[in-house]
Amino acid sequence: MAGAYIRGVGLSCALGEDAESCVSAMQRMQVRPVRLHLDEFDEPLQMPYYRIPDRSELFDAGRFERLLPPVARAAVAQAGLTPEEIHRLPMFIGSSCFSVGLSESRYASALVQQPETAIPMPLCGYQDIAVILQRTLGCKGDTYTYNTACTSSANALLAALRMIELGWYRHTLVAGAELANRTTLAGFSGLQVVAETLRPFDAARKGLLMGEGIGAVVLSAETDSANRLRVIGGASNCDTWSVTTANTDGNSVAKVLNQALHQMRVQPRQVRGIKAHGTATPAGDAAEALGLRQVFPNLPPVSVLKPYLGHTLGACCVNELILYAGALLHGFLPATPGFETPDPALGVQPITTPEPAPDGHYLLNHFGFGGNNTVLALEKIAP
């Protein structure tokens, strides 16, 4: 499998507003969720939340248009594409919220100003992220927008990779975007899976913490010799055990891990590290841990990145790929803040201090509502 090279990245998340500073902050093990108060509901909500550190109000309707473009511009600039390549650049978008925050704001405003004509979901569909990014960059290429919950940007990236391998495209932009909105915040609260502290794979884990993040990656068929990161494959499957979690026996997770390994022709013992999904929900971590243990008799170092930026849901793959890839290039495997007490039922202990990152193969796990399991494989190439 030829794979595709990571030629440019852009990132904005709780760690910072550019990819390099985010990786540096992660290396320093910086963790900074803020306290969020949503008092407007019948039952007021409070939760820790990882917000992008811009200065605007969290639900400011203009944030969507302000925060997306710089990230895409950074990725394309770093990739060094020609104007003609940018013009034809196809986009693969993954998100679980899209512009619902903007839609909420407009509906709320209409209910105040003209209640008799206010209609819910005044913005609908999935096109807004692609429209903004195309306008920002001047792209006219094809767009593919994925909405598979927390695997959205993983599946978008997998599709981009495959279409590059087919020769349909030489370069693609893969973007993930997740910004604060009431639907997501209240929706997850209603599911009672939001915790006060994030403890992936820990015996005391109680649930997830959400976050915002926008990431963009330029994947290319070709690169120069200085580029040392390549996405080499991946696999995806559907587990119909439950709409909200993979089967806690770990079988469907093991199956998708084995599919990914088979596709890249790599044995488990050749994997140098795993970026786990690690939502820190009791059931989600159980499914992932038991799946990992079925495939890896001896687990390579496991890192969970959500303690740095929260669970950025549909964008988590691209955001965490950028952080993990950045760490590999800097020579370290990220530590997992929040993990303290091993859970004997899981048998997975994420690393708690950074470790050296050798050349070789790495896996990145992603699991989502709708039974979606997607694993991506990354190679750090020797210089």
Binding site: E104, A186, N237, D239
Partner: protein
């Protein structure tokens, strides 16, 4: 070679001041279990997918590729009303069903599938996006069978539904669930190919060489008008349209499914593209 082995076509116009057609009765005989907490978008997906798969031998790793322009709009409206107007926390199943992939979950569960399951959108051209993704995976051998569907739901009242889509208030709206079952190497079925061209002239040259009397040409609505008119003129072909002339966001899916299920003979060429991004030709063999 990719073959189209089965198709289903559900297109239901929705008239002003009329209720939406109930889907519960037709679904009873199509679902392996009585699904609770599903919304209309999921019902439409179950209906179309089950009809397409009826009598066919689905492989457990058959991929599901579900496309839609608007997604589960009815459920999203209910959720937003709970949240913004009523200031209530959304009910869990309403929140979970806001995701397009929930429909794919129920389709997979109903048909006993465990393979890839993707929800893909491209406004006004979701069929082209979802078909491209499925065909890419088949050409690379990641799946040997793919259930490709496009679902569009209508939410009442119709005037609001039109406003959301910036449509004129006199447009007749429709719901749709249009599905294709693709398989690698099946011998006795129509072939489906996807060709990509950087230049319009190359596309026209190919069409001229492949065109036979009785073939049909379908120009995607996203094409510039003059390009579509030029193609129809050159190939003396009228635009395919759905019989009811009703609108939803993914009409190309309705055209294609109606062509296949209507027993039409000849090749079908579905063209989409733009001079600045290149051209795609979906070529359905006779």
């Amino acid at each position: 070679m990719i073959k189209l082995v089965s198709a289903s076509h559900y297109l239901q116009p929705v008239y002003d001041h009329a209720a939406l057609t109930s889907l519960e009765a037709p679904l009873k005989g199509l679902c392996r279990e009585p699904f609770r907490r599903i919304d209309r978008f999921i019902q439409l997906a179950l209906l179309g997918s089950a009809n397409c798969a009826s009598g066919r031998n689905l492989r457990p790793d058959c991929g599901i590729y579900l496309g839609s322009g608007l997604g589960p709009i009815g459920n999203n409206i209910v959720t937003q009303e709970q949240l913004i107007r009523d200031l209530e926390i959304p009910k869990p199943f309403n929140f979970i069903n806001t995701l397009g992939s929930s429909a794919g979950f129920y389709v997979a569960r109903n048909l006993g599938l465990q393979g890839q399951n993707f929800f893909i959108s491209r406004r006004g051209a979701s069929l082209q996006a979802v078909l491209s993704a499925a065909m890419a995976d088949m050409l690379l051998g990641f799946v040997t069978q793919a259930l490709v569907g496009v679902v569009e739901e209508v939410a009442l009242p119709l005037d609001a539904h039109r406003l959301r889509q910036h449509l004129s208030q006199d447009i007749l709206l429709a719901e749709g669930s249009h599905w294709l079952l693709l398989q690698s190497g099946a011998s006795d079925s129509r072939s489906l190919d996807l060709k990509r061209f950087a230049e319009f002239a190359a596309l026209e040259d190919f069409l001229k060489s492949a065109w036979r009397t009785g073939d049909r040409l379908c120009c995607a609505r996203s094409m510039e008008t003059h390009a579509a008119e030029a193609m129809r003129r050159d190939f003396n072909a009228g635009a395919l349209s759905d019989p009811a002339s009703a609108f939803h966001d993914s009409l190309e899916a309705a055209w294609l499914a109606a062509f296949v299920t209507g027993g039409e003979q000849g090749n079908l060429f579905l063209v989409d593209g733009h001079p600045e991004r290149g051209w795609s030709l979906f070529y359905l063999g006779a």
